[in-house]
Symmetry: D3
Subunit: 323 residues, 6 copies
């Protein structure tokens, strides 16, 4: 299905520590590249954290994720999926933000993703803080609202910060609902926890019909049961997957700006992805990986392992469609 150009370099040919580090050692295919039109799944970096209100850092995420990604191999251990054979994958490079202007940055990101979506490429994004999801959704959900399976310790449904700041990493999905990008009835947020300012975000969720699965419920019911409900909520319609690394317990993922104690472990972090099988994924992101708070890179390695899991599900869908 996919030709050799789109295959990553094997660690058996070139040691994994060698080479310019693209995502998963895939070819770097920028939008002006001759073969851009052939790409089926595009890995894209959005090195941007202008929405961060406390500890910045995710602007450095894509580079560290690329570095960690050279450890990924050709085949999934459980499903047997060989994603790079199932679909033509490529590293589409980074979208350059304007660090000085949030609105301009969002406009640039949406413009970039418009090209991607128009080319029929499924985007798998490496953020960036969680505000990244908003300009991406403006492309992905341009035609009609999408559902969302959202892994996070926070709802990111707040109205505003600091007396009127409407675009932060705590507000993207409030905006997305307001802008008609998300169908709140088809949105589920999993792993919510941590001390709270107030219940304003939860009230909004309740009013709009967004389903919140708090970490207590997650731990009590287990991955399979929770994810079965998540798949049901998302249904058959186009669904976005947003994965904030702070969903995972901060001991497993210390490199993030707003950690909350008591989250899932690394195995559960992968399991929830495998349970996305059957969801109609139109795009996905891994956000809030913040290298300055984890110089050893373990967080990025986990983040990339999660991205590989999601990629395998997406590649399976691509392969199924092209049969």
């Amino acid at each position: 299905m996919s030709d050799t150009f789109f295959h990553p370099i094997s660690g058996f040919e070139l040691p994994r520590f060698a080479g310019v580090p693209t995502f998963m050692r895939l070819p770097h295919v920028a939008p002006d590249h001759a073969r851009f039109g052939e790409v089926e799944i595009g890995l894209i970096g959005v090195p941007w954290d202008s929405g961060t209100t406390n500890r910045p850092g995710p602007r450095h995420g894509p580079r560290q994720l690329r570095d960690a990604s050279t450890m990924m191999r050709a085949q999934h251990a459980v499903s047997g999926m060989r994603p790079f054979e199932a679909a033509r994958c490529a590293d589409l490079g980074d979208v350059g933000p304007n660090p000085a202007d949030i609105q301009d940055s969002m406009a640039r990101i949406t413009a970039y993703y418009d090209k991607v979506i128009e080319a029929g490429i499924l985007p798998l994004t490496a953020g960036g803080d969680h505000l990244t999801s908003l300009p991406v959704l403006r492309s992905v959900a341009k035609k009609s609202p999408v559902g969302m399976i959202h892994f996070d310790s926070h709802t990111d449904l707040f109205h505003s910060y600091f007396g009127g700041m409407m675009y932060t990493h705590g507000t993207p999905f409030r905006r997305a609902v307001e802008e008609g990008l998300l169908d709140p009835k088809r949105v589920v947020q999993i792993g919510i926890r941590g001390t709270m300012y107030d219940e304003e975000d939860r009230d909004f969720a309740k009013a709009e019909g967004i389903r919140l699965i708090l970490i207590e419920e997650f731990h009590a019911r287990g991955v399979e049961d929770v994810m079965a409900e998540a798949r049901e909520i998302a249904g058959d319609g186009p669904t976005y997957v947003s994965y904030d690394i702070d969903f995972v317990d901060p001991t497993f993922a210390p490199g993030t700006g707003t950690p909350e104690v008591g989250g899932p472990n690394s195995y559960q972090a992968l399991q929830v992805c495998r349970a996305l099988e059957g969801v109609n994924i139109v795009g996905a992101d891994m956000v809030e990986v913040s290298p300055p708070f984890d110089m050893s890179g373990g967080t990025a390695f986990l983040g990339m392992s999660v991205m590989y899991e999601i990629l395998c599900v997406m590649a399976g869908q691509v392969a199924a469609r092209s049969k």
Copy 2:
């Protein structure tokens, strides 16, 4: 119930990385402060590790815990408790030890806590090594012995170290029983594990009727069942809660001097606190957080999250009483 003076500064008003770091951004109310008498729950630092026999460091604990504490917000995610509204809380500052004299340090600590107890303030202490609990108990249990729910990987019930050293972080509760501060029948120790010198401590526990719940039993029975028994042991009487951070597995809490592999994870670390609901808490401590062995601060963040959990339970009791 509580007025604005005792409210922490919100991160929505002043970013959390700003400001002189007091515990949970509460007002700093030293014993000579005009409003000391109004405080209901006092957070106190005891930067002291003279009882440490192997790897020192907990003297630096209170400062790092204060730093981490600026991440705490106004409301508990599960119980909905808003502790700073339920009770008047304050940072009472640090007790200054005499690094050169264990007995003098203990006298200073007890004298300080006497003032706190006399003012009717419930103390929530940030140690310090585990010897800290002894001079605190001398105040808290001045009138009559108290029960204790004790989370730890060690019993701290040894007779002495190095041929006669009676006051170390391995002996506080032996002394406390001998001094009549603890009612051994109402004491339970949870999470005990690690290689042993001998069984001298366990023999003492058995003789006195102290209940030990080894980590194997903890993992086998689960938090709820174990904590139900703990509440039963503590009963209705006044009970002290002592939480050694080495109760938690060292991967989750590396910043401590005597780690033991195989402990609870971070979620269980919080759960056991929530299960204190109903216990008659007359004081609590978080000890053995040792910043030099965890410069990234993850241990302090976990320690502070635990303190917030305990604080919520204590605040609920204060609120209940004042109704």
Copy 3:
């Protein structure tokens, strides 16, 4: 001259690792404090890095500087100056920025410093990135332009970034000259080095008469000679001292966002401050200390040692005036 209230707690009374960490263990005297009007030198934190274009982090600077400052003692080793006896010093707290709005943040900072300046307090600021100096200068130089002795590896004289971003940490002194806050003829920049985009900043300096002392000249001539010229340039008029920690070689000060190899060592970092004796200092700052890039805190310790040096010079001036 100064009474006991304004004396830091001695490490001989209370160990240095104990206590809520204010700057140099001084009393925390916010603008609404009863004794605010008595302060002669105010240490102020500005935890803000919205002007940073590459690696953020200085928003965390003031807290780490406060932590390091507890190591400072009562007397300067060479001059014998006892700054806390020579002048009434206090920690005035932090100015709360608006992380979402650069203009609003600058307005808040200037408003705060207006209060400080009106009270006759000499401000010694702990930033924050270098854009911090601009809103501070708007207060300090409100009445008439000031001279400046500026230690840095960059000129921070650029016109704009990213196609029009006028307020970044690379532009504050361009703005300050344009706004008439700085008298360019009385400005000297010392330690300039590092690879360059172009010569736009240097052309501006030349046109305006700002004196640049590149690091090569600094190393060739030595501290004394260079600083004699600096004092001559500043003359007798009111002069601001701005100290970017990246002036120092990044091995000595790794915790900063835009390091440039080949700078002064730690001894020279102090020496240049001692050579400020005789300059009419109306305010000073230490900026660009970025904890996420130096978790061990060595950079903050050096930064605070530099602040202590400058404080001693300022205290001497205060003492001389009040004689």
Copy 4:
């Protein structure tokens, strides 16, 4: 059974941070030592990583493991086993590899272990990368093939790397089967996971009758059930235990060269060892601890805790035999 010479120094006599660090503070008994012949269990370091294909480092493992081992005490917390009384244990020192020659290194290692085996000493090895197991097995299984219980995230059953490299840390057990050192029907590999190049190793396992227990099966069935099967596979015959630290989840054991997300936690890491009770252990190893990727030493501490668990099982067997 064992005399005082073979007892480790107690931390109650000499603080644990003191002394030249041998394994578990045991006497250093090199093969030319007068009491070598009396040793029953020998702890041996093999500081060697010439078989590593990606991130080297295990050559530094034995030293860090010795350092961590000074935290081990005299008695097992659950079984009550006092290994140093049950069997005469000693630190036999390190085998010196030839960093420049894999074949020569393997010859040196086998020659060293031949001396150990001939002296009737049970070897407990601290590697080194996983290729270490091959030259050790050449001694241990010299007379007849042995069974193996193998904890790892990889099978290490590959044919070769980089077009013909037959001796790497990914191939030792392929070679061991080919050389008749392992009886594949009595081999079980537990914890297998991670992305794959292909299925060549699994095909080999299937063809030879090696039982693979993937991590999914491990998590689903639990330690007890899995280990019951493992004991059954190993049966009564002589069995080698090989423990690659990357069996454990990389958050618990970051110091290793080929981490794979989603493994067992630290409690399970110990539990599997306790379940070795009853296996006829003729040798064991702990490999792939790589200090450069975990300077804090948590991985080595966990690795040493695992070695202590295995030692207790081995010591129990020795004691049983000598009754």
Copy 5:
């Protein structure tokens, strides 16, 4: 002279933390790229450390150097050189070594450099350990011996290690002299220091006429004087520049395998490069940068700053020739 294709992306257009990290943000031009023939200076990675006898790690050097290189800008601060305009520069990618076979790796490297040399490209190499220089010299000095200016704390002139290991990072220049690649009379080694095994290497140097400048002489005479002699020794003939990062003091460059205390500081590290002006450089390398021993990346940042200095000298030569 150079067209836009060969210009690095400016940090004013795309923030420096964004993008796939090639050397200095130059285009990635592999040997099969259409514009390979136009390249004048090629930056090449050799991720290889099979010659390392103690602490491995330089195989990870090129990737960290690429990461650090995104901090480099368009113009040299002192000379005004704009290297990317003066010469067509590109990232030629990495040479893939065979981690299992030193001879095969050297053959691969030489074959790669043969292509580079044949294309008339000046190579600027990022190692790898110091053995890297040997296979590079086999290409660079294919036609006739070259001189060498060598910065290092070791001579790397040993005969062999471990009884016969001829190809290690301590022997490359012994081999290079023996193979006629270096003209020993035109070789100078600067910065030699550290404890010694014996004087075998120094005897060889003396016998062959290689000039050794020990660190004591370096510190006593200063950079200018020493480098004047170095230029004289090298003369007008083709000269190779080899820069081992352990030339620099280990405080400035901790990330290396064989540090020796007491070396040059970071300013001197740059100064010696500037003094290469006038040398006929036919190739240069930066070796022994070992990320596992400096996770913060300061060593790589210094190493890249040195490479930028050398690049500027090389670019000046290219520009001069093409006039």
Copy 6:
């Protein structure tokens, strides 16, 4: 002069990362060892920091120094001295302190050194905090007072701490003068700097005739001139050398408890030792290396390099005497 038993293992025979780490890979010769009486220079660890008033840690120093010491080779690069051939050197092991009792610890240390001195062994000590020097001097100067060349940023001449603590790492030499162990006229302290509590220590020095060379004088005069004076002060009489690692600038030696900015660099750190040639050294120590504040080990590596320098001078004296 010295036989093979006392030679360290060469890194050419056994790689330096292998083996149980004794000081400089020398044999471990405890006082009860058969060849103890033959030792001429004994390296001794004193893992003790009970005298530390702020940040503890030096108790962990000897172990990290032993680890770093395996990097030392057979010959000094400048003097050509081969210390292990010039004198019979051995690792005498650690003195076990009593962490609970300062007086008992001092008694133990003195008792141990009495044995060493009586055996005619020159002690070279690895501390421990600076209080270590006092009990050592009680042995070394048992018969008559000695002179001292003391490298430090502090005088350690204070009377007491915290209202009466007489034995801290800030008081050893006050006690030593009072006890008649030091001849103050033959004592010189070099490198003094840092902020001060008061001038009490300096007044004592002045009254007793102890010469203080502040860091400003040191930098102004240079190593040679300062050390010439130091040698003159010490004269021909028996002289102790005490080297506090905080003499060196904290960037070069971060792993210490009381750093002071602006000290000597690493080259000067070695040079001052070489200038001890000709001093009649009767013992020496390296103190205050504190691993918890420098996990990477650079401080220990520098500390060990300094010890090697001093050892070479001592070995030369031994060799000269035995001629």
